[in-house]
Structure formats: C-alpha cells, structure tokens
Amino acid sequence: MAKTVLVTTTINGESTEFLCKPRESLLEILRNKLGMTGSKEGCNNGNCGACTVLIDGLPVDSCLVLGVEVEGVEITTIEGIADIGQLDPVQDCFLEGAALQCGICTPGFIVAARALLDKKPDADEQTIRFDLSGNLCRCTGYDKIVRAIQAVQESN
Amino acid sequence: MPIVFIPAQLKSLTGGVSQVEMEVDNVGQVIEQLEAQFPGIRDRLCDGDQLAPTLQVSVDSSMGTRGLRTRVAEAQEVHFLPVIGGG
C-alpha cells in the first residue's frame, strides 16, 4: 500500500489538514474526507465541470487533481462562494433568473462563472460561452445560465 | 349507447367489425359483451380478471384509472391502447 500523506492547504480561507493516499482525487477528499459535498461528481474524467473548484483563483476540475498535489495552495469551493447569510451576486442571479433546474451542474457553473467575472468582468456572450464550455448542463439549454451571468454584469 | 372501438389487431376476431355499440356501465361489462359476441377476445384484452398490464383503456379522451371498473357513460367511446411511459 502506498504511503499516507499529510497535506496542509487552505480551503475557503481556512487552513486545513487532511491525510490521503496519492490515488485519492481532490474531489474525493473534499466530498468524503472534508464533508464538502457541494462539488459534484458528474463524469470523474474532466468532461463535465460539475466538480469545478478554484485553485489559486483558477478553475480546475477537482476530479483531475490529486489530493497530494494541493499542499500549500488556496482552494475555493462552492461552499466558499457565499458570505455568511449573504449569497454571492452570481448565486443571486442564478436564483433570480431560474438558471438551474436539477441543480447538479450548478455549483460547478457558479464557481467557474465567479472566476470568469473576476477575470473578465465585461465578457461578451461569446466569451462567456467559450470560457464556460467545460461545464455541461443538460436541463437548461444554457440560455438562462448565460443570462444570469449577464445579469451579474449588469448589476455591477 | 357507448361505442366500443375494436383494436385493429383484434378485427380478425370480429369478422372485420371495427365498432360495436353496447349498453354497458363499465369496461368490465364491455369485455363481457365483447366476449359473448366474439369468443376469444377476452384473452386478448385481459390477464385473468384484470385488464392486460400492457394495455390501458380510454373512455373518450380520459385514461381509465380503475381498470375494468372504469365507468362508461351514454355515447362515450371506449378504446384499448398500449400503456405509455413518459420521460
């Protein structure tokens, strides 16, 4: 058996330690070891974006990151997007704009959309669609998701 | 009188008759009367004392929810249809 590794990292601003085997993905660690089940498993091979988290501000598929790799980085998950008692504008606009149906892709979309808006606050529709093409949604046809992101832009 | 539509696949049992008017109050009576007129048709529509599980009955445009006890009123149409699943 492989050695168990102690990893120290920062998740949603909190310093966090966990033990893991090298084969465990960040997604598994978050969900099974740290009880943060907001990041979803849709495909487990980087094709759907439901497990998107930010590492040092960049969106990644957490199913394609090993837990042992995140030593010393800063991770933001869907659980860290809202402030206490206060939704993030992206969350607010998704809710207001009915940009979710079943909701399984929603955490991944919100995390990726947050990163997009932080980086490119004025992204046009084509840029939004390009940059979020790594997130699959099967319920909404994407229309209301794009509009929700545009609503965040308009509210700024 | 209610009108019973004979499923196209059972017309060989009715000598080509496609509609039968009959004095009935429910689907069970429809089956009884059909069987009396066209022996063998009951086995094609029923599984024991119930409507075949692959079939549903429609009375006018309503889908019967009470199987053979589904009521049939004056001038209504009775159709036997395959069950439908939805997504």
């Binding site: 085997k21 969900r31 089940t37 907001g38 979803k40 498993e41 849709g42 495909c43 091979n45 094709n47 759907c48 998950t77 659980e79 997007i81 809202a82 939704l87 969350q91 998704f94 809710l95 207001e96 704009g97 149906q101 079943c102 909701g103 399984i104 929603t106 919100i110 669609r129 979020l132 093409s133 997130n135 699959l136 949604c137 099967r138 319920c139 909404t140 046809g141 994407y142 209301k144 | 539509f5 499923p7 196209a8 696949q9 059972l10 086995d43 599980p53 429609s58 445009s61 309503s62 889908m63 019967g64 929810t65 149409e77 159709h79 249809l81 069950v83 439908i84 699943g85 939805g86 997504g87």
Partner: protein
Amino acid sequence: MSSGNGSYRVIGTRPRRHDGAEKVTGSAIYGNDVQLPGLLSGFILRSPHAHARITSIDTSEAEAMEGVFAVISGKDFPEVADKIADLGEGAVNLSYLSDNVMAKTKVLYKGHAVAAVAAANVHIAEEAAAKIKVEYEVLPSVTWVMDAMQDDAPLLHENLCTDHMGEKDEKPSNTAVHMHFEKGNVEEGFAAADVIVEREFKTATVHQGYIEPHVSVADWTTSGRLKIWTATQGAFTARQQTAEVLQIPISKVVVTPCEIGGGFGGKIAVYVEPVVALLSKKCGRPVKITMTRADVFEGSGPTPGSFMRVKVGATSDGKLVAGEAWLAYDAGAYPGGMIGPGCMCVFSCYDIEHALVDGYDVCLNKPHTSAYRAPGATQVAFAMEQVLDEIAEQLGICKLEIRQFNAAKEGVRRVDGPVYPRIGLVECLDAVAQSDHWNSPLEGENRGRGIGVGFWFGCGLKSSVNASVNHDGTVNLTEGSPDIGGTRTSIAMQLAEVLGIDTFDVIPQVVDTDSVGYTDVTGGSRVTFATGLAAYEAGLDLQKQMVIRAADLWECPVDEITVEEGEFKGAGNSASFKELAQQLFKDGEPLVARASVAPDCATNGFAVHIVDLEVDPETGKVTILRYTAVQDAGKAIHPSYVEGQMQGGAVQGIGWALNEEYYFNDDDTMDNASFLDYRMPTMLDVPMIDTIIVEAANPDHPYGVRGVGEPPIIPPPAAIANVMSEAISKRFYDLPMSPPKVWKALSETS
C-alpha cells in the same frame, strides 16, 4: 403571447424557488452526498461482451481481499416470477427487471452487471471487482434493429415469441411486440391523393445524458427494514421495483428520494438500488454505489434507435388524406421499449382521415431502453415532419400553412382512436406565423429556416400531498414528487393561489415513502399538473375547514362566511388566511388537510420550433443561428421554469439531431461511453433559445395547466432536418446529421 399574470395573485409570477439557496450554495443533498456511519462503497463488475453465456463466476479472490466486506452475483438474487408489474407509468416484467439489475445466466449487452463488491472505499471495491473471475461463452450479437428482426439473427431470449396484442407467434424471435393501428381505409385515402411521399428513416440510440450518475445508498437494518436513499424520479416506484426484485414486502422498504441531478425518463427503472440492498444485507453495513460515467452510458437505459418508413398522401390543395407508417424500435436487451407511443404519435399532430401504423418492439444487444422525454415521439416526428415538408415542396405550399391547414384540433381522431378535447396546436402555429423570428429576413448562403411540430400526451397518474397550517399561518406542504426542475415551487404556488397567501408562505418538502401518500414518478410531464392539482385540492379542503371554524369563532352561520382572495369575512369580522390561522391555532384542533388525486386525462401538449441554421459546406458542420420554441403550456404557473423546460428540451433535441449517438465497434460494444465522445451540446454549441408560451387552457385542470416537460424535445431533429433541405438542398434521413454525413451528402452532389 407570453403569460401575463391575468387575474391570479401568485400564478404566472416568477418567484425564486424554495430549494434554490441550497442548490446554489452546494448544501442540497443529492444521492451521492448521503453519508452514514460505517458507510461502505460498492463497485459493479460489468460484462465486456455484447452477448455471452456466463459459464462460471469465482469471487473467492475478491472476497479474500483486505477491506472487502461483501461480494454478490446473480445467484444471490431471489427467483422472480415471469410476471408483469404495473409501475404506474408503464409496466415491467419482473424477471427481466431482475436480470437487468444483475445478469443470471447470460449477459445481453456490454455493461450488463454480473457481480458487485462492497469495500472500505471505492478503489478497493474496484480492485476487488477486477479479481472476480467470470468465464464467458461469447455468442454472436446484434445491435441494428433491422438485423435483429431477421430470422437468422442471434436470439437474445430463447422463449420470446412475438406478441400481437395477446396472440403469440410460435417461433421464438427478437421481436417482442407487434402493434397495429388503423383509422379509416388507407387504400382509399392514397387513391384520393394527388401527391404521395414515402421515405425511410434511421435514428441512432441516444442517452438522456443527465449530469448526475445513478447513485443509491442502502442500509438493511437489523430491524429488517431496508432503507434506501437514491437518485430516482419516483420513490414509490423505486420502492416497488426494489421490493419485487428482492422478493420482500414493500412495507419493509422505505425510499428517500434525494435531490436528483436530472432524469428525463432515465431514472425510473432501478439499476443500483437492489444491488446496494443485497450488499448491505450481506455485510450488515450501509453501502453506496455511484455509477461511473461509462457505466451510465453502458449500463443504464438509453432511448431507442429506430428504423421507420412513413408514407403520406395529400390532395393538390395540401389536405393530408392518408398516412402509413412502419416502425421498428430498439427495445434493447429486454422487451418493452417505446414503440407504443411511437405508433400513437407518428400522425398525432395532423387531421388525417385514413391512417395505418405497424410497430415493432425489438430486442437486441444494447442496454435495455428507457424513456427519454416524450419517449418514442422524437423519432417519428423526424420522419413525419420531413415527409410533410416534402409534400409541401411538391405542391408549392408554404410549410407553415400546410401545417395550419392540417393541424389537429378539438374533435380530431387520432390513429389510435381517441378524439382530442380542447388542444392548442392551432394557436401554437398561429404564434409562429406572428412571431418576430418567422417574419424576420434571413440572408446568406447555406442558410435556411424551417419548423417542426411535436405532440406528447402528458399524463395524470396518482399524487398525494399533506398540508399542515403552522401557527403563524404559513403552510407546510409535503409531497412525493422528486423536484427535478423547480416543481416544489410550481406546486406550492398553486396552494398559495387557492389560499390567497404568498408563494413563500408555503413551505414545500419532498419526503420519503413513509411520510406521504403514494405518488407516481416525476415524469410524463405530470408533476405541476397532477401534484399541483393535489395541492390545489388540499387548499380547498383547508379553506373549507377554516370557513366552518370561522363561523364557529365569529358565531355566525357557515353560509355567511365568504372567502375572496384569501380574505375571510362574516358577521362583521374579516381576517386574512394568515390572521385567521393564527386565531384558530389558539382555538381548537390544528388545521391539517390532505389530498390525493388520480386525474384520468391526458394534458395534450404541442410544441412548434423555428430554426435558422448555417452549414459549413467545407466541413459539413451545422451552426444553429437562431432558435425559437413555441409551446402550449395551458397555463404557465411559473413561466421561468416553463421556459426552462422548453429551452432544455430544445437543446437536448439539437444534440440528438446533430451529434449524439451510441457508436458501436465491430464487436457490438459501445466505443464512445464518455461525455467527451458522446458529444452533448456545450454552451458554445447553441444560441439563446427564445420562447413563446401559448396558453390554451387545459379544461381538466382548475388553472388550465398542461404538461410541459416533454413536447420540447420532439421538434428539433425534425425542424433541423427540414432546414437542412432549405439551406443546402439535401434531405437527411439518418440521425444524427453529424458533420461527416452532411459533408458526404454535399460531396456527392459536386
């Protein structure tokens, strides 16, 4: 045309959904999020072969592994009678269901479950599964429906004989069912036709593509109660199927429907539930299994591929006079596919006096098919709508006008017999005619515009709710319909409307099978209609109780109490619902209502879609330029979620039209069982989807609601195929219309 609020306070508004905050913050609990003390992980070993006899299974090495708690295979499942069970929405043969959950003697498709392991974690479970030795005798296989119907085709079921409505052939066959419908006399009809078009069509197997894989957790407790948490469209049908497969009373099973990550018809049959149950029973610990994405493609239920021949005749003025269809649909590994609705829907959008339909349900070595949003209807619309366009072309008639001229309306008889009540197809077509999209110019080479029409029945089935008034006058509403697209809110809004309170004064909850009356699946476009109807009736009951109690409180006769928009008045008193509820809380028994319904009507939904597209003639790639979905919702309770259904269905249909398909290798195994290679549309592949909600009230619902979930997937492949003909003068009779096929067709011209 889009819904105004009319005379309603709540209905037609767009409140946030009750479960929204949980879903945008990640705190909503889906099946995979369930954690229990001592929870183990499972893994299912699946067949690598499309068709094989299992000669032996040796699990000893797997069982001996450290960290492995239980291993099961087909022999651990009880014998199940060859009996058909009514699952509310559709019927299923229980022995087939059990065999599909875990193969016993034969595997019938690649991905068929053969054994399962419970272990300390999923990695150990997977490693242990790899150590299970299964010996197979590989058999010839077949995955194309027309091949499977041949006399010399490999037989999947040695005892299966074709059923012709209760009469069975003597010779075994892969064709499970033959259906036949007739209306009028087609020979006469075709004789009267001035133009006849007959074409053959093929469609590929496609998957619902929900983003959440199938997942279930079971805890078979020492008390003998089996507790299941699962991703299902119907907790009660999951309970029934699990109990039947395991041969235990349903009272021993409680199913909690978790938040569910999409279903579209694919999460009605059980796959994982009986497996985790048996593993849990064997090791005495709770067990969870999450399918891998490849498992989902290969081991759940896609929707049928098909072969279709459709022939339609019309007189020179464009009146359709005769239609004939011959349809063969995949059932997959076990009988029971979508051929019934296929037959019933092929001509369902039009008034055709003479029609004849034959349909065949055919077993072959693919996963057992499931419903996928208007199951069976999308395929036939792809065929019929193209034949209709060709007739219009030959007669030089506008493609919208020929549809308006022949549109089904109240009083028209379908080929399967029933006569339509009030329906809204004509209104939808009129809305197209008046739309900005239809009337806007479209210029440019290799571009075109066209339309397609779709119909879906929409069903009632059974629903139950409980409503309890809190002492602040809010109402807890418990229901049994898993909420896949905002239905907690569309149901709660109907209760709020009756009671004259606000949407958020109703607190809806979806509860387990112990906690609410029987409720059929979230499917068949039925929830907002039927569970909404139950909520409406519970509201009326509460109101009635409160009138009696108000009369007592205000010391006046009951008939002096009036209620208008939630305001109770009588004997000079007046109180809102909430005020009265607060007073009554201190004055006697709690206010509780319940309602259960089994509406027997179809809700008869129609959709018409308008598409503009452009073809890249060099690569054959299609770009959707503009898209408008028009649909009769009867009454849009929450217009945003109605639009959402229309937009989502449209994009699924676009995927079906252009790229999605099960691609089979020479050995009949699926080659593209991943989201990467199955190619569902991404955000970048579609434009905004405009919507026009038509409201032709359903006479069988107090607010006029029709089912809206299913119709929007039907028109897209048909509409897109019709536009291809406009754009590049090529007709496509095979789905998907993927770039290689489009390029090939173009290169054959030049």
